[in-house]
């Protein structure tokens, strides 16, 4: 059954700061960067900042892993007079794409007229990549942290090793994902990494958690991105062509659960995966479209192996065939059957915990992307494979 709220709400404005190499955004403060992104998003939409009256966050409203986004502080800073909605999808970056569903819920419930979703990240005081190893143990993490799986990349490497064992997937496949995304990043002024990359250079990169090397890990960057949503009726009166929220889902199954913070996934299909199969199934059902209908896929790429496993979980190829699929050139912007991360993604452009994927989807569907997919009408955007909830959304021109 197609979603009751399909196309009833739309993205009408996007704003972003530049993407800084980790720590280099200082002495700008994180709230200062949030302010810039929100004001630019309002300009983009043709809205006054005072018209914003809702906040639909994800990642438990955290900015990175330590700082919090606080609605009252942002209202005070930006002169937003009244708010009717302020809520977050729980957990971490898994909810980024699903925040469009949370915003829809808020708009359809008439809690807000113009809702903003924000993410900001500043790694000046604390590096995200070391977040786990530097934190005090909890009773739960005491079953994981002593192994020396010190960060998310180390944890996900365990899942990909099993994928290699089960399906014969090779590191060349990951190299193809990294190189393909790098090619997409090169012409973009927003990109942090713009130097060309060969497969030989990929194999020379230091192994951080074998089978993953440094280039399989995403960038550590600073910056802020804001996305404004409203009802489709209101969107008609604004500056930009609306990008409709065609479907959105967040959640997931217990068999994935805490995922690599647990390692207890009971089946090989769940263990060697991105945890997105349940979201993919639900999203395609809600949206009334399938992977074959997508013109572009913006897949959360904190680690290259999760792009490969999401391609399987969303049905772009069969389970276990992600390796040969990407090695066929299928995800390339030039000549691929499903261009993936045309912005360069978090591996090469910048990492703002999923928001750059929403930004790129909007640019593709407005027809103004740097690496424009011709006549792009439908885009898949996903949230980070991580402990539940994970999420995805389909956007339509």
């Amino acid at each position: 059954m197609v979603w009751a709220h399909q196309d009833k709400c739309a993205i009408v404005g996007v704003g972003a700061t530049k993407y800084y190499v980790r720590g280099q955004s200082w002495p700008r403060t994180i709230n200062e960067m949030i302010g810039e992104a929100v004001m630019k998003a309002c300009d983009d939409a043709g809205l006054k900042v005072e018209q914003l009256d809702g906040f639909a966050y994800y990642s438990s409203a955290s900015a990175g892993y330590g700082e919090k986004m606080d609605t009252a502080t942002l209202m005070e800073m930006l002169g937003i007079p009244e708010v009717g909605f302020s809520a977050a999808i729980t957990s971490g970056g898994g909810g980024s794409a699903g925040s469009m569903g949370l915003a829809t819920a808020a708009l359809m419930n008439e809690d807000t007229k113009y809702c903003v979703t924000i993410m900001a990240l500043q790694q000046y005081h604390k590096r995200l990549g070391l977040a786990y190893s530097l934190s005090e143990p909890t009773p739960e993490s005491s079953f994981l942290q002593p192994s020396g799986l010190v960060g998310p990349g180390h944890l996900m490497s365990v899942l990909f090793r099993r994928h290699m064992h089960l399906y014969g997937t090779s590191r060349e496949a990951l190299g193809e994902i990294v190189i393909s995304q790098r090619e997409n990043a090169i012409p973009r002024e927003t990109s942090v990494r713009r130097n060309p990359l060969t497969l030989e250079e990929y194999f020379q990169a230091p192994m951080l958690a074998d089978p993953l090397c440094r280039l399989d890990f995403c960038l550590e960057t600073d910056g802020a991105v804001a996305v404004i949503t409203t009802t489709s009726d209101r969107a008609k009166d604004l500056k930009q062509k609306p990008v409709y929220i065609h479907g959105a889902a967040h959640g997931g199954k217990a068999e994935w659960g805490r995922a690599f913070a647990w390692m207890g996934m009971p089946t090989d299909e769940a263990f060697a995966s991105s945890g997105h199969k349940a979201i993919g199934d639900r999203l395609w059902n809600l949206a009334g479209v399938g992977p074959q209908d997508m013109d572009v896929a913006l897949l959360y790429d904190h680690f290259s192996c999760m792009v490969l496993m999401q391609l399987e979980d969303y049905g772009f190829c069969k389970k276990g065939e992600g390796g040969p699929f990407v090695q066929s050139g299928a995800v390339r912007y030039k000549g691929g059957s499903i261009p993936v991360n045309t912005h360069g993604g978090q591996l090469s452009e910048g990492y703002i915990i999923g928001m750059t994927h929403l930004r790129e989807a909007v640019e593709q569907l407005r027809g103004v992307a740097v690496n424009q997919v011709k006549d792009a009408e439908l885009a898949l955007v996903t949230g980070g494979p991580a402990h539940l909830p994970v999420s995805g959304c389909v956007l339509r021109r």
Partner: protein, 141 residues
């Protein structure tokens, strides 16, 4: 390549709660165990206040054979914490013999990293860590 070591125990810290403490107490006595539901027999790790199959709180702590099978692993060449020299170590996920569905995530050591295989048999080796506790690590069986 030289043999991987376990992360030195003086760098490892754990904490417990009333539901995980019996596991760590048992390991401290060098008896490997896992939380098993007293009502339906389902194993769960890490230990938690309810059996997810039947919601019973009745929990048993059977002594396990202390062997298992490598389910997956990673090879790391860099020290896991700042301020100590680099060394090779192998985080490993082990399916526990005698406790179907239960896994432990720790280190496999005393093995050349290139010789590690998914599916290989391993045996438990108790490593002293901070606070007088021990960690169930693994060596080749």
């Amino acid at each position: 390549m030289s043999k991987a070591i376990a992360i030195p125990g003086e760098h490892i810290k754990i904490t417990t709660d009333p539901w995980t403490e019996k596991f760590w107490e048992s390991v401290k006595a060098e008896k490997l165990t896992a939380a098993q539901c007293g009502a339906c027999g389902h194993f769960r790790m890490p230990p938690s206040p309810y059996c997810p199959k039947c919601r019973s709180q009745d929990t048993r702590w059977p002594e396990l054979p202390g062997t298992g099978t490598v389910y997956s692993y990673v090879v790391c060449h860099r020290a896991p914490f700042p301020g100590i020299p680099d060394f090779d170590y192998i985080p490993v996920v082990v399916d526990l013999d005698g406790a179907p569905g239960a896994r432990i995530v720790s280190n496999l050591f005393d093995i050349d990293p290139e010789e590690v295989k998914i599916g290989m048999k391993v045996k438990v080796a108790f490593t002293p860590i901070q606070g007088g506790w021990k960690l169930p690590n693994w060596t080749p069986a």
